[in-house]
Symmetry: C2
Subunit: 220 residues, 2 copies
């Protein structure tokens, strides 16, 4: 019953599913068995109708009059999001961001296994971060192939990002999380999402200066 549904839905839904998942984990941890879309929405600042709609794209997971069974919905979301398996990931770039990612424990908890970190700094190669070895950048191709790595995190300077991405894709990686502040051009069967740190701060700067003296606010 549960699953099987229309398969066209907003891109933003995926992101929200991830939020739901996390909130449900929290509820589960606190021993809460059942939650309504209203309650979940309150926790996440998301309208209850939005939650119901998002879930409805994938199946009927709730019970009318009752709400959603937390554990059951968790299980379903885990499957939907593809978190019911382990993913092998490499990090390219052992700088501050790469190191932070290697130390980010939530990744392991979710099944994202950081297999290795690559860098071309002689001083870093051979060391490890949070138990993960730093290997020479030149070995990346072999390593990715041998270990069937599918996902990669790019944490190198903007100027190097495109070359790194190309190399990764050539080696077989099909999903990339990019921290370099540049738009990487890739084949369309490779998934790439970017985390843009300055952009977010700049958006905040916009919002903060917005209410003050911007002309286009005045002349509508």
């Amino acid at each position: 019953m549960a699953r099987r549904k229309k398969y066209k839905f907003p891109k933003t839904t995926i992101e929200r599913l991830s939020y739901y998942f996390r909130a449900l984990e929290d509820l589960s941890k606190r021993g809460i068995d059942t939650v309504s879309s209203e309650a979940l929405g309150g926790k996440l600042n998301i309208k209850s109708s939005q939650i119901r709609k998002d879930l409805s794209y994938f199946g009927d997971f709730g019970k009318r009059g009752m709400g959603y069974d937390v554990k059951y919905l968790l299980k379903e979301l885990k499957y939907i999001l593809g978190l019911d398996r382990e993913w092998s990931v490499v990090i390219v770039g052992a700088g501050h961001i790469g190191a932070a990612m290697a130390n980010y424990d939530s990744f392991e908890k979710r099944g994202f296994n950081i297999a290795a970190i690559f860098d071309n700094d002689e001083k870093k190669i051979g060391k490890e971060i949070n138990g993960t070895p730093i290997l020479p950048y030149d070995n990346i191709d072999d390593f990715v192939k041998q270990n069937k790595i599918e996902m990669a995190i790019i944490a190198v300077p903007a100027a190097a990002a495109q070359a790194v991405a190309d190399k990764l894709v050539e080696s077989g990686v099909t999903a990339i999380l990019n921290f370099a502040p540049v738009a990487v051009q890739l084949d369309e069967n490779v998934r790439c999402l970017s985390v843009d740190l300055t952009t977010k701060l700049e958006a905040l700067a916009y919002y903060m200066s917005y209410s003050q003296d911007k002309l286009w606010k005045i002349y509508s």
Copy 2:
């Protein structure tokens, strides 16, 4: 002439303005004086019509038949985004992410001044990261008030994030960049953007497992 326009525009426009800004900086650095929406779009994987529309919300910046003057558009975008001034920022949490942010040089380059880092770990207090001192968390209120800090970066565990946010807002901070994997509830005159690291990886996991055996893909 340039500025003064309708003031309602998509939220996503702000983010793109930020991308335009960065791409233009790059062009400028390479000595390119003029760029068309078509060329800029090619660099960023954004449709030219989208770029023209985005810019048109704020003014007429281009010359028909010619394109946009890179330096001029940079200057205008700088103003629009609120980057024509310095912003004082504090970081809360001197863990790996907080440290990475303190070391992220692009912030300074854009006028985001990291004034201090706060933590309650005795072993970290008194040290500094990338020249920025780590101060006791308890001093945060005074510091924010005395230094008229407006922006903050939260890089603490999820469980602590809400309390930290409340304290920051109480002290006078009105914009927050949140790295904690939790939805922070705030007064609506405080701007808060979240950078969600696991969510992005999870979205990738979804896309990767998507093409395989998901039921709702089959039964449309």
